[in-house]
Symmetry: C2
Subunit: 300 residues, 2 copies
Protein backbone atom coordinates (compact mmCIF):
# COMPACT_ATOMS: atom_id res chain seq x y z
CA UNK A 1 0.00 0.00 0.00
CA UNK A 2 1.28 3.43 -0.90
CA UNK A 3 1.09 6.37 1.46
CA UNK A 4 -1.28 8.37 -0.75
CA UNK A 5 -3.73 5.46 -0.83
CA UNK A 6 -4.07 5.72 2.94
CA UNK A 7 -4.20 9.53 2.99
CA UNK A 8 -2.63 12.08 5.30
CA UNK A 9 -5.18 12.13 8.10
CA UNK A 10 -5.49 8.36 8.27
CA UNK A 11 -1.71 8.07 8.38
CA UNK A 12 -1.50 10.62 11.22
CA UNK A 13 -4.27 8.82 13.11
CA UNK A 14 -2.34 5.59 12.80
CA UNK A 15 0.92 7.17 14.05
CA UNK A 16 -0.92 8.94 16.84
CA UNK A 17 -2.47 5.73 18.15
CA UNK A 18 0.98 4.23 18.63
CA UNK A 19 2.19 7.11 20.81
CA UNK A 20 1.93 6.96 24.60
CA UNK A 21 2.50 10.16 26.52
CA UNK A 22 3.66 11.06 30.00
CA UNK A 23 1.63 13.14 32.43
CA UNK A 24 3.66 16.22 31.51
CA UNK A 25 1.75 16.42 28.22
CA UNK A 26 -1.64 18.16 28.43
CA UNK A 27 -2.36 17.74 24.71
CA UNK A 28 -0.13 15.89 22.23
CA UNK A 29 -0.61 15.25 18.52
CA UNK A 30 -3.92 16.49 17.09
CA UNK A 31 -4.25 20.21 17.76
CA UNK A 32 -2.54 23.26 16.24
CA UNK A 33 0.24 22.95 18.82
CA UNK A 34 1.20 20.62 21.65
CA UNK A 35 0.33 21.77 25.18
CA UNK A 36 2.90 21.03 27.87
CA UNK A 37 3.08 21.53 31.60
CA UNK A 38 5.10 24.67 32.29
CA UNK A 39 4.41 26.91 35.31
CA UNK A 40 1.64 27.51 37.87
CA UNK A 41 -0.35 29.81 35.56
CA UNK A 42 0.88 28.92 32.09
CA UNK A 43 1.28 26.10 29.63
CA UNK A 44 4.06 25.87 27.09
CA UNK A 45 3.07 25.38 23.45
CA UNK A 46 5.17 23.67 20.77
CA UNK A 47 4.47 23.46 17.06
CA UNK A 48 6.34 22.76 13.82
CA UNK A 49 5.73 23.25 10.10
CA UNK A 50 7.63 22.06 7.06
CA UNK A 51 7.54 23.82 3.69
CA UNK A 52 8.83 22.00 0.62
CA UNK A 53 9.76 23.61 -2.71
CA UNK A 54 7.30 22.60 -5.40
CA UNK A 55 4.58 21.80 -2.83
CA UNK A 56 4.18 24.85 -0.58
CA UNK A 57 6.10 27.34 -2.70
CA UNK A 58 8.05 27.61 -5.95
CA UNK A 59 11.56 28.83 -6.60
CA UNK A 60 10.00 31.57 -8.70
CA UNK A 61 8.35 32.92 -5.51
CA UNK A 62 10.13 35.77 -3.78
CA UNK A 63 12.53 34.29 -1.22
CA UNK A 64 11.57 36.78 1.45
CA UNK A 65 7.89 35.84 1.15
CA UNK A 66 8.73 32.14 1.38
CA UNK A 67 10.66 32.83 4.59
CA UNK A 68 7.83 34.97 5.91
CA UNK A 69 5.36 32.16 5.24
CA UNK A 70 7.53 29.59 7.03
CA UNK A 71 7.54 31.71 10.18
CA UNK A 72 3.98 32.98 9.92
CA UNK A 73 2.27 29.60 9.64
CA UNK A 74 3.87 28.58 12.93
CA UNK A 75 2.80 31.83 14.59
CA UNK A 76 -0.70 31.15 13.29
CA UNK A 77 -0.65 27.77 15.07
CA UNK A 78 0.32 29.38 18.38
CA UNK A 79 -2.39 32.03 17.88
CA UNK A 80 -4.98 29.30 17.31
CA UNK A 81 -4.18 27.94 20.80
CA UNK A 82 -4.78 31.37 22.35
CA UNK A 83 -1.06 31.79 23.06
CA UNK A 84 1.91 34.04 22.42
CA UNK A 85 4.91 32.85 20.34
CA UNK A 86 8.36 32.84 21.94
CA UNK A 87 11.36 30.92 20.53
CA UNK A 88 12.02 29.43 17.09
CA UNK A 89 14.57 27.03 15.64
CA UNK A 90 14.99 27.02 11.87
CA UNK A 91 16.11 24.10 9.72
CA UNK A 92 16.83 24.85 6.10
CA UNK A 93 17.77 22.38 3.38
CA UNK A 94 19.38 24.17 0.42
CA UNK A 95 21.04 23.15 -2.86
CA UNK A 96 24.74 24.10 -2.84
CA UNK A 97 24.19 25.65 -6.26
CA UNK A 98 21.57 28.05 -4.87
CA UNK A 99 22.25 31.74 -5.30
CA UNK A 100 23.43 33.17 -1.99
CA UNK A 101 21.01 36.08 -2.37
CA UNK A 102 18.05 33.68 -2.45
CA UNK A 103 19.28 31.88 0.70
CA UNK A 104 19.74 35.16 2.51
CA UNK A 105 16.31 36.32 1.31
CA UNK A 106 14.72 33.29 2.99
CA UNK A 107 16.33 34.16 6.32
CA UNK A 108 15.46 37.82 5.90
CA UNK A 109 11.79 36.93 5.49
CA UNK A 110 11.91 34.60 8.49
CA UNK A 111 13.57 37.29 10.58
CA UNK A 112 11.13 40.04 9.60
CA UNK A 113 8.12 37.93 10.59
CA UNK A 114 9.85 36.87 13.80
CA UNK A 115 10.65 40.47 14.73
CA UNK A 116 7.10 41.60 13.99
CA UNK A 117 5.68 39.08 16.47
CA UNK A 118 8.38 39.14 19.15
CA UNK A 119 9.88 35.73 18.31
CA UNK A 120 13.54 35.02 19.13
CA UNK A 121 15.43 32.99 16.51
CA UNK A 122 17.59 30.86 18.77
CA UNK A 123 19.06 28.10 16.63
CA UNK A 124 18.78 25.87 13.64
CA UNK A 125 20.31 23.50 11.18
CA UNK A 126 21.56 24.18 7.66
CA UNK A 127 21.92 21.17 5.38
CA UNK A 128 22.38 20.34 1.73
CA UNK A 129 19.26 19.29 -0.19
CA UNK A 130 18.25 18.92 -3.84
CA UNK A 131 15.09 20.97 -3.29
CA UNK A 132 14.65 23.82 -0.82
CA UNK A 133 13.06 22.67 2.45
CA UNK A 134 12.32 24.92 5.42
CA UNK A 135 11.23 23.65 8.79
CA UNK A 136 10.49 25.91 11.73
CA UNK A 137 9.65 24.74 15.24
CA UNK A 138 8.20 27.38 17.53
CA UNK A 139 7.47 27.47 21.24
CA UNK A 140 4.83 29.63 22.83
CA UNK A 141 3.13 30.27 26.12
CA UNK A 142 -0.52 30.51 27.04
CA UNK A 143 -2.23 31.36 30.33
CA UNK A 144 -4.05 28.22 31.45
CA UNK A 145 -7.41 30.02 31.40
CA UNK A 146 -6.80 31.20 27.81
CA UNK A 147 -5.95 27.83 26.25
CA UNK A 148 -8.25 27.09 23.29
CA UNK A 149 -8.35 23.56 21.92
CA UNK A 150 -10.15 22.10 18.94
CA UNK A 151 -12.10 19.88 21.29
CA UNK A 152 -14.07 22.45 23.29
CA UNK A 153 -16.95 23.39 20.94
CA UNK A 154 -20.37 23.27 22.63
CA UNK A 155 -23.92 23.03 21.27
CA UNK A 156 -25.33 26.43 20.35
CA UNK A 157 -21.87 27.96 20.05
CA UNK A 158 -21.71 30.61 17.36
CA UNK A 159 -19.08 29.79 14.68
CA UNK A 160 -16.93 32.70 13.56
CA UNK A 161 -14.20 33.14 11.01
CA UNK A 162 -11.74 35.98 10.54
CA UNK A 163 -10.98 37.59 7.16
CA UNK A 164 -11.91 36.05 3.81
CA UNK A 165 -11.32 32.53 2.54
CA UNK A 166 -10.43 30.90 -0.76
CA UNK A 167 -7.95 31.45 -3.57
CA UNK A 168 -4.98 31.91 -1.23
CA UNK A 169 -2.81 30.23 -3.87
CA UNK A 170 -2.83 33.51 -5.83
CA UNK A 171 -0.71 35.26 -3.19
CA UNK A 172 -2.13 35.22 0.31
CA UNK A 173 -0.62 31.79 1.20
CA UNK A 174 2.80 33.50 0.97
CA UNK A 175 1.90 36.91 2.28
CA UNK A 176 -0.57 36.69 5.14
CA UNK A 177 -0.59 38.15 8.62
CA UNK A 178 -1.11 35.55 11.32
CA UNK A 179 -4.14 36.51 13.42
CA UNK A 180 -2.19 36.78 16.64
CA UNK A 181 -3.54 40.05 17.99
CA UNK A 182 -7.08 39.00 17.07
CA UNK A 183 -6.67 35.66 18.88
CA UNK A 184 -5.22 37.33 21.96
CA UNK A 185 -8.10 39.81 22.03
CA UNK A 186 -10.56 36.95 21.79
CA UNK A 187 -9.11 34.84 24.60
CA UNK A 188 -8.57 37.86 26.84
CA UNK A 189 -12.17 39.09 26.44
CA UNK A 190 -14.32 36.00 25.81
CA UNK A 191 -14.66 32.37 26.73
CA UNK A 192 -13.58 30.94 23.37
CA UNK A 193 -14.69 27.30 23.41
CA UNK A 194 -12.70 26.11 20.40
CA UNK A 195 -10.33 27.54 17.81
CA UNK A 196 -8.27 26.37 14.81
CA UNK A 197 -6.45 28.07 11.97
CA UNK A 198 -7.55 27.38 8.41
CA UNK A 199 -4.68 25.50 6.80
CA UNK A 200 -6.53 22.56 5.21
CA UNK A 201 -9.61 24.55 4.13
CA UNK A 202 -12.67 25.79 6.04
CA UNK A 203 -14.66 22.56 5.77
CA UNK A 204 -11.72 20.35 6.74
CA UNK A 205 -10.64 22.56 9.64
CA UNK A 206 -14.13 23.16 11.01
CA UNK A 207 -14.44 19.38 10.52
CA UNK A 208 -11.42 18.92 12.85
CA UNK A 209 -13.22 20.97 15.52
CA UNK A 210 -16.41 18.93 15.09
CA UNK A 211 -14.57 15.62 15.22
CA UNK A 212 -12.51 16.55 18.29
CA UNK A 213 -15.53 18.10 20.04
CA UNK A 214 -17.90 15.33 18.93
CA UNK A 215 -20.35 17.90 17.58
CA UNK A 216 -22.17 18.84 14.38
CA UNK A 217 -22.65 22.25 12.75
CA UNK A 218 -24.82 24.26 10.42
CA UNK A 219 -23.13 26.92 8.29
CA UNK A 220 -24.77 29.33 5.85
CA UNK A 221 -23.47 30.02 2.34
CA UNK A 222 -24.63 33.63 2.46
CA UNK A 223 -22.55 34.32 5.60
CA UNK A 224 -19.24 32.78 4.52
CA UNK A 225 -16.79 35.58 3.59
CA UNK A 226 -15.36 34.53 0.22
CA UNK A 227 -12.19 36.18 -1.06
CA UNK A 228 -12.18 37.91 -4.45
CA UNK A 229 -9.29 35.57 -5.31
CA UNK A 230 -11.42 32.45 -4.91
CA UNK A 231 -12.53 30.70 -8.12
CA UNK A 232 -15.99 30.10 -6.67
CA UNK A 233 -17.80 29.45 -3.41
CA UNK A 234 -17.38 25.68 -3.41
CA UNK A 235 -13.62 25.83 -3.95
CA UNK A 236 -13.30 28.56 -1.30
CA UNK A 237 -14.68 26.11 1.25
CA UNK A 238 -11.93 23.62 0.40
CA UNK A 239 -8.94 25.81 -0.48
CA UNK A 240 -6.11 25.46 2.01
CA UNK A 241 -3.65 27.91 3.54
CA UNK A 242 -5.98 30.81 4.32
CA UNK A 243 -4.48 31.02 7.83
CA UNK A 244 -7.64 32.65 9.11
CA UNK A 245 -9.02 31.65 12.51
CA UNK A 246 -12.20 29.64 12.93
CA UNK A 247 -13.51 29.78 16.50
CA UNK A 248 -16.66 29.12 18.48
CA UNK A 249 -18.10 30.84 21.52
CA UNK A 250 -21.46 30.72 23.30
CA UNK A 251 -24.21 31.98 21.00
CA UNK A 252 -25.54 34.59 23.47
CA UNK A 253 -22.25 36.57 23.44
CA UNK A 254 -21.88 36.65 19.64
CA UNK A 255 -23.59 40.04 19.52
CA UNK A 256 -21.26 41.57 22.08
CA UNK A 257 -18.22 40.27 20.17
CA UNK A 258 -19.38 41.91 16.93
CA UNK A 259 -20.09 45.13 18.84
CA UNK A 260 -16.72 45.51 20.57
CA UNK A 261 -14.49 43.99 17.83
CA UNK A 262 -11.72 46.59 17.53
CA UNK A 263 -9.77 45.45 14.44
CA UNK A 264 -9.96 46.13 10.72
CA UNK A 265 -9.81 42.36 10.18
CA UNK A 266 -13.31 41.27 9.28
CA UNK A 267 -15.11 38.71 11.45
CA UNK A 268 -18.14 36.78 10.25
CA UNK A 269 -20.58 34.63 12.16
CA UNK A 270 -21.07 31.76 9.72
CA UNK A 271 -23.22 29.32 11.67
CA UNK A 272 -23.88 27.35 14.82
CA UNK A 273 -22.60 24.23 16.55
CA UNK A 274 -25.20 21.47 17.04
CA UNK A 275 -25.15 17.88 18.25
CA UNK A 276 -23.08 15.34 16.35
CA UNK A 277 -26.31 13.37 15.81
CA UNK A 278 -27.60 16.19 13.63
CA UNK A 279 -24.40 16.21 11.53
CA UNK A 280 -22.59 18.87 9.50
CA UNK A 281 -24.73 20.90 7.07
CA UNK A 282 -24.35 23.77 4.66
CA UNK A 283 -27.47 25.86 4.01
CA UNK A 284 -27.34 27.16 0.43
CA UNK A 285 -28.57 30.62 -0.58
CA UNK A 286 -31.68 28.87 -1.89
CA UNK A 287 -32.44 27.64 1.64
CA UNK A 288 -31.58 24.04 0.77
CA UNK A 289 -29.45 22.20 3.38
CA UNK A 290 -26.63 19.94 2.10
CA UNK A 291 -24.80 17.37 4.16
CA UNK A 292 -21.03 18.15 4.26
CA UNK A 293 -18.19 15.70 3.88
CA UNK A 294 -15.28 17.66 5.31
CA UNK A 295 -12.61 17.22 2.63
CA UNK A 296 -9.79 19.67 2.23
CA UNK A 297 -6.40 20.09 0.73
CA UNK A 298 -4.67 16.72 0.17
CA UNK A 299 -1.01 16.88 1.18
CA UNK A 300 0.07 13.72 -0.67
CA UNK B 1 27.80 33.86 -5.55
CA UNK B 2 26.58 30.35 -4.87
CA UNK B 3 25.95 29.03 -1.40
CA UNK B 4 28.66 26.37 -1.61
CA UNK B 5 31.25 29.02 -2.52
CA UNK B 6 30.59 30.72 0.81
CA UNK B 7 30.43 27.47 2.81
CA UNK B 8 28.15 26.34 5.60
CA UNK B 9 29.88 27.89 8.60
CA UNK B 10 30.42 31.25 6.89
CA UNK B 11 26.76 31.28 5.88
CA UNK B 12 25.65 30.51 9.46
CA UNK B 13 27.98 33.24 10.79
CA UNK B 14 26.43 35.71 8.42
CA UNK B 15 22.86 34.77 9.42
CA UNK B 16 23.79 34.78 13.08
CA UNK B 17 25.17 38.31 12.93
CA UNK B 18 21.82 39.61 11.69
CA UNK B 19 19.90 38.14 14.64
CA UNK B 20 19.21 40.21 17.74
CA UNK B 21 17.93 38.40 20.80
CA UNK B 22 15.86 39.30 23.81
CA UNK B 23 17.06 38.90 27.39
CA UNK B 24 15.11 35.65 27.67
CA UNK B 25 17.79 33.92 25.56
CA UNK B 26 20.87 32.78 27.49
CA UNK B 27 22.55 31.31 24.38
CA UNK B 28 21.15 31.49 20.84
CA UNK B 29 22.62 30.17 17.58
CA UNK B 30 26.08 28.63 17.88
CA UNK B 31 25.95 25.79 20.39
CA UNK B 32 24.48 22.28 20.27
CA UNK B 33 21.16 23.66 21.53
CA UNK B 34 19.68 27.03 22.42
CA UNK B 35 19.54 27.90 26.13
CA UNK B 36 16.43 29.71 27.32
CA UNK B 37 15.27 31.18 30.59
CA UNK B 38 12.93 28.70 32.27
CA UNK B 39 12.67 28.34 36.07
CA UNK B 40 14.63 29.31 39.15
CA UNK B 41 16.99 26.32 38.94
CA UNK B 42 16.75 25.24 35.32
CA UNK B 43 17.19 26.39 31.75
CA UNK B 44 15.17 25.09 28.85
CA UNK B 45 17.09 23.73 25.85
CA UNK B 46 15.85 23.69 22.26
CA UNK B 47 17.49 22.03 19.26
CA UNK B 48 16.57 20.86 15.77
CA UNK B 49 18.07 18.60 13.11
CA UNK B 50 17.09 17.94 9.53
CA UNK B 51 17.89 14.73 7.66
CA UNK B 52 17.58 14.64 3.89
CA UNK B 53 17.42 11.50 1.73
CA UNK B 54 20.55 11.19 -0.39
CA UNK B 55 22.57 13.37 2.02
CA UNK B 56 22.16 11.93 5.51
CA UNK B 57 20.68 8.59 4.56
CA UNK B 58 19.60 6.56 1.51
CA UNK B 59 16.30 4.94 0.71
CA UNK B 60 18.15 1.63 0.77
CA UNK B 61 18.84 2.21 4.49
CA UNK B 62 16.48 0.50 6.91
CA UNK B 63 13.60 2.90 7.66
CA UNK B 64 13.67 2.17 11.37
CA UNK B 65 17.37 3.08 11.58
CA UNK B 66 16.76 6.33 9.68
CA UNK B 67 14.04 7.23 12.17
CA UNK B 68 16.27 6.26 15.06
CA UNK B 69 19.04 8.50 13.72
CA UNK B 70 16.66 11.47 13.34
CA UNK B 71 15.71 11.24 17.01
CA UNK B 72 19.11 10.26 18.34
CA UNK B 73 21.07 13.15 16.82
CA UNK B 74 18.75 15.58 18.60
CA UNK B 75 19.14 13.72 21.90
CA UNK B 76 22.90 13.88 21.37
CA UNK B 77 22.63 17.69 21.10
CA UNK B 78 20.75 17.92 24.41
CA UNK B 79 23.29 15.58 26.02
CA UNK B 80 26.14 17.81 24.83
CA UNK B 81 24.58 20.70 26.80
CA UNK B 82 24.50 18.58 29.96
CA UNK B 83 20.71 18.33 29.83
CA UNK B 84 17.86 15.85 29.69
CA UNK B 85 15.57 15.60 26.60
CA UNK B 86 11.83 16.17 27.05
CA UNK B 87 9.44 16.90 24.16
CA UNK B 88 9.78 16.40 20.41
CA UNK B 89 7.85 17.54 17.35
CA UNK B 90 8.42 15.59 14.14
CA UNK B 91 8.08 16.93 10.59
CA UNK B 92 8.25 14.42 7.81
CA UNK B 93 8.21 15.08 4.07
CA UNK B 94 7.29 11.93 2.14
CA UNK B 95 6.61 11.03 -1.50
CA UNK B 96 2.98 9.98 -1.96
CA UNK B 97 4.26 6.93 -3.85
CA UNK B 98 6.26 5.77 -0.81
CA UNK B 99 5.47 2.34 0.54
CA UNK B 100 3.37 2.71 3.68
CA UNK B 101 5.61 0.18 5.46
CA UNK B 102 8.64 2.41 4.93
CA UNK B 103 6.77 5.46 6.29
CA UNK B 104 5.65 3.52 9.33
CA UNK B 105 9.17 2.19 9.81
CA UNK B 106 10.50 5.74 10.06
CA UNK B 107 8.03 6.58 12.82
CA UNK B 108 8.71 3.27 14.56
CA UNK B 109 12.42 4.08 14.72
CA UNK B 110 11.71 7.60 15.97
CA UNK B 111 9.38 6.25 18.63
CA UNK B 112 11.79 3.55 19.82
CA UNK B 113 14.59 6.08 20.34
CA UNK B 114 12.18 8.50 22.01
CA UNK B 115 10.92 5.82 24.40
CA UNK B 116 14.45 4.72 25.26
CA UNK B 117 15.38 8.23 26.40
CA UNK B 118 12.09 9.37 27.95
CA UNK B 119 11.10 11.76 25.15
CA UNK B 120 7.40 12.51 24.54
CA UNK B 121 6.39 12.80 20.85
CA UNK B 122 3.89 15.62 21.10
CA UNK B 123 3.21 16.81 17.57
CA UNK B 124 4.38 17.22 14.03
CA UNK B 125 3.70 17.92 10.43
CA UNK B 126 3.36 15.46 7.55
CA UNK B 127 3.79 16.86 4.06
CA UNK B 128 4.33 15.68 0.52
CA UNK B 129 7.90 15.82 -0.82
CA UNK B 130 9.84 14.37 -3.75
CA UNK B 131 12.60 13.10 -1.44
CA UNK B 132 12.19 11.95 2.15
CA UNK B 133 12.98 14.71 4.66
CA UNK B 134 12.78 14.32 8.43
CA UNK B 135 13.07 17.21 10.85
CA UNK B 136 12.87 16.81 14.59
CA UNK B 137 12.86 19.65 17.09
CA UNK B 138 13.50 18.64 20.69
CA UNK B 139 13.24 20.51 23.97
CA UNK B 140 15.24 19.65 27.05
CA UNK B 141 16.01 20.88 30.53
CA UNK B 142 19.28 21.39 32.34
CA UNK B 143 20.02 22.46 35.89
CA UNK B 144 21.73 25.86 35.70
CA UNK B 145 24.83 24.49 37.40
CA UNK B 146 25.08 21.63 34.89
CA UNK B 147 24.90 23.68 31.69
CA UNK B 148 27.93 22.97 29.47
CA UNK B 149 28.64 25.32 26.57
CA UNK B 150 31.24 25.20 23.83
CA UNK B 151 32.67 28.43 25.15
CA UNK B 152 33.88 27.37 28.60
CA UNK B 153 37.19 25.57 27.87
CA UNK B 154 40.05 26.77 30.08
CA UNK B 155 43.84 26.54 29.74
CA UNK B 156 45.20 23.24 31.07
CA UNK B 157 41.82 21.54 30.71
CA UNK B 158 42.15 17.88 29.79
CA UNK B 159 40.38 17.05 26.51
CA UNK B 160 38.38 13.82 26.50
CA UNK B 161 36.36 11.95 23.92
CA UNK B 162 33.90 9.10 24.35
CA UNK B 163 33.92 5.97 22.18
CA UNK B 164 35.76 5.64 18.88
CA UNK B 165 35.77 7.97 15.91
CA UNK B 166 35.89 7.66 12.14
CA UNK B 167 34.16 5.61 9.47
CA UNK B 168 30.67 6.17 10.88
CA UNK B 169 29.37 6.14 7.30
CA UNK B 170 29.66 2.33 7.37
CA UNK B 171 26.81 2.01 9.88
CA UNK B 172 27.29 3.92 13.10
CA UNK B 173 25.86 7.19 11.71
CA UNK B 174 22.49 5.38 11.52
CA UNK B 175 22.79 3.18 14.56
CA UNK B 176 24.44 4.99 17.42
CA UNK B 177 23.47 5.48 21.04
CA UNK B 178 23.48 9.13 22.08
CA UNK B 179 25.80 9.58 25.06
CA UNK B 180 23.08 10.85 27.37
CA UNK B 181 23.81 8.82 30.46
CA UNK B 182 27.53 9.51 30.07
CA UNK B 183 26.92 13.26 29.78
CA UNK B 184 24.62 13.30 32.80
CA UNK B 185 27.19 11.40 34.84
CA UNK B 186 29.85 13.90 33.82
CA UNK B 187 27.87 17.05 34.70
CA UNK B 188 26.56 15.54 37.94
CA UNK B 189 30.03 14.54 39.15
CA UNK B 190 32.49 17.01 37.62
CA UNK B 191 32.84 20.63 36.62
CA UNK B 192 32.78 20.08 32.85
CA UNK B 193 34.09 23.30 31.32
CA UNK B 194 33.02 22.65 27.72
CA UNK B 195 31.29 19.95 25.71
CA UNK B 196 30.16 19.30 22.11
CA UNK B 197 29.00 16.27 20.17
CA UNK B 198 31.02 15.12 17.17
CA UNK B 199 28.80 15.73 14.17
CA UNK B 200 31.20 17.57 11.83
CA UNK B 201 34.29 15.52 12.75
CA UNK B 202 36.67 15.64 15.73
CA UNK B 203 38.91 18.42 14.38
CA UNK B 204 35.98 20.60 13.30
CA UNK B 205 34.04 20.11 16.52
CA UNK B 206 37.02 20.53 18.85
CA UNK B 207 37.71 23.54 16.61
CA UNK B 208 34.25 24.92 17.53
CA UNK B 209 35.14 24.63 21.23
CA UNK B 210 38.48 26.38 20.65
CA UNK B 211 36.90 29.17 18.62
CA UNK B 212 34.07 29.79 21.09
CA UNK B 213 36.43 29.55 24.09
CA UNK B 214 39.19 31.53 22.38
CA UNK B 215 41.71 28.82 23.18
CA UNK B 216 44.21 26.52 21.49
CA UNK B 217 44.85 22.79 22.01
CA UNK B 218 47.39 20.04 21.64
CA UNK B 219 46.13 16.55 20.84
CA UNK B 220 48.15 13.34 20.46
CA UNK B 221 47.76 10.87 17.59
CA UNK B 222 48.57 7.92 19.83
CA UNK B 223 45.73 8.78 22.22
CA UNK B 224 42.90 9.32 19.69
CA UNK B 225 40.58 6.29 19.73
CA UNK B 226 40.14 5.37 16.06
CA UNK B 227 37.29 3.09 15.03
CA UNK B 228 38.00 -0.12 13.12
CA UNK B 229 35.59 1.25 10.48
CA UNK B 230 37.80 4.28 9.76
CA UNK B 231 39.81 4.23 6.53
CA UNK B 232 42.82 5.72 8.29
CA UNK B 233 43.79 8.06 11.11
CA UNK B 234 43.65 11.29 9.10
CA UNK B 235 40.15 10.61 7.77
CA UNK B 236 38.94 9.59 11.26
CA UNK B 237 39.83 13.08 12.47
CA UNK B 238 37.58 14.59 9.80
CA UNK B 239 34.75 12.06 9.41
CA UNK B 240 31.40 13.44 10.57
CA UNK B 241 28.46 11.93 12.44
CA UNK B 242 30.30 9.99 15.14
CA UNK B 243 27.96 11.48 17.76
CA UNK B 244 30.55 10.96 20.46
CA UNK B 245 31.09 13.64 23.10
CA UNK B 246 34.19 15.80 23.24
CA UNK B 247 34.54 17.58 26.57
CA UNK B 248 37.12 19.38 28.66
CA UNK B 249 37.60 19.54 32.41
CA UNK B 250 40.40 20.79 34.69
CA UNK B 251 43.56 18.73 34.14
CA UNK B 252 44.01 17.83 37.81
CA UNK B 253 40.71 15.89 37.96
CA UNK B 254 41.32 13.86 34.78
CA UNK B 255 42.75 11.02 36.84
CA UNK B 256 39.72 10.84 39.13
CA UNK B 257 37.39 10.76 36.12
CA UNK B 258 39.22 7.79 34.59
CA UNK B 259 39.18 6.05 37.96
CA UNK B 260 35.45 6.38 38.71
CA UNK B 261 34.13 6.13 35.12
CA UNK B 262 31.35 3.53 35.48
CA UNK B 263 30.33 2.82 31.87
CA UNK B 264 31.41 0.34 29.20
CA UNK B 265 31.68 3.30 26.80
CA UNK B 266 35.38 4.04 26.41
CA UNK B 267 36.74 7.46 27.34
CA UNK B 268 40.10 8.71 26.16
CA UNK B 269 42.12 11.71 27.26
CA UNK B 270 43.44 12.96 23.93
CA UNK B 271 45.17 16.21 24.85
CA UNK B 272 45.15 19.55 26.62
CA UNK B 273 43.69 23.01 26.13
CA UNK B 274 46.28 25.80 25.80
CA UNK B 275 46.20 29.50 24.97
CA UNK B 276 44.87 30.59 21.59
CA UNK B 277 48.23 32.23 20.95
CA UNK B 278 49.85 28.79 20.92
CA UNK B 279 47.30 27.48 18.39
CA UNK B 280 45.87 24.05 17.60
CA UNK B 281 48.42 21.20 17.19
CA UNK B 282 48.44 17.49 16.57
CA UNK B 283 51.46 15.59 17.88
CA UNK B 284 52.17 12.65 15.57
CA UNK B 285 53.36 9.25 16.81
CA UNK B 286 56.84 10.31 15.63
CA UNK B 287 56.75 13.21 18.11
CA UNK B 288 56.41 15.80 15.36
CA UNK B 289 53.81 18.55 16.02
CA UNK B 290 51.58 19.64 13.11
CA UNK B 291 49.47 22.76 13.03
CA UNK B 292 45.78 21.89 12.54
CA UNK B 293 43.32 23.58 10.24
CA UNK B 294 40.00 22.44 11.68
CA UNK B 295 38.12 21.27 8.57
CA UNK B 296 35.30 18.78 8.78
CA UNK B 297 32.37 17.40 6.89
CA UNK B 298 31.11 19.91 4.30
CA UNK B 299 27.30 20.02 4.25
CA UNK B 300 26.97 21.76 0.87
Amino acid sequence: MRLKDLGEFNFIDRINKAVKLSGRVIKGIGDDAAVLRYSKDKYQLLTTDMLVEGKHFYKSDKAELVGKKAMSCNISDIAAMGGVPKFAVISVGLPGSLDLKYAEGLYKGIKKAADMFGVDLVGGDTVGSGKIVINIALTGEVEKKNLTLRSGAKENDAIFITGYIGGSIKLKHLNFTPRLKEARFLVNNFKINSMIDVSDGLLADLGHILKESNKGAIIYENRVPVSKSASNFNSALRDGEDFELVFTLPGPVAGRLKKIWPFKTKISEIGRICSSRKGFFLVRKTGKAEKIKPAGFAHF
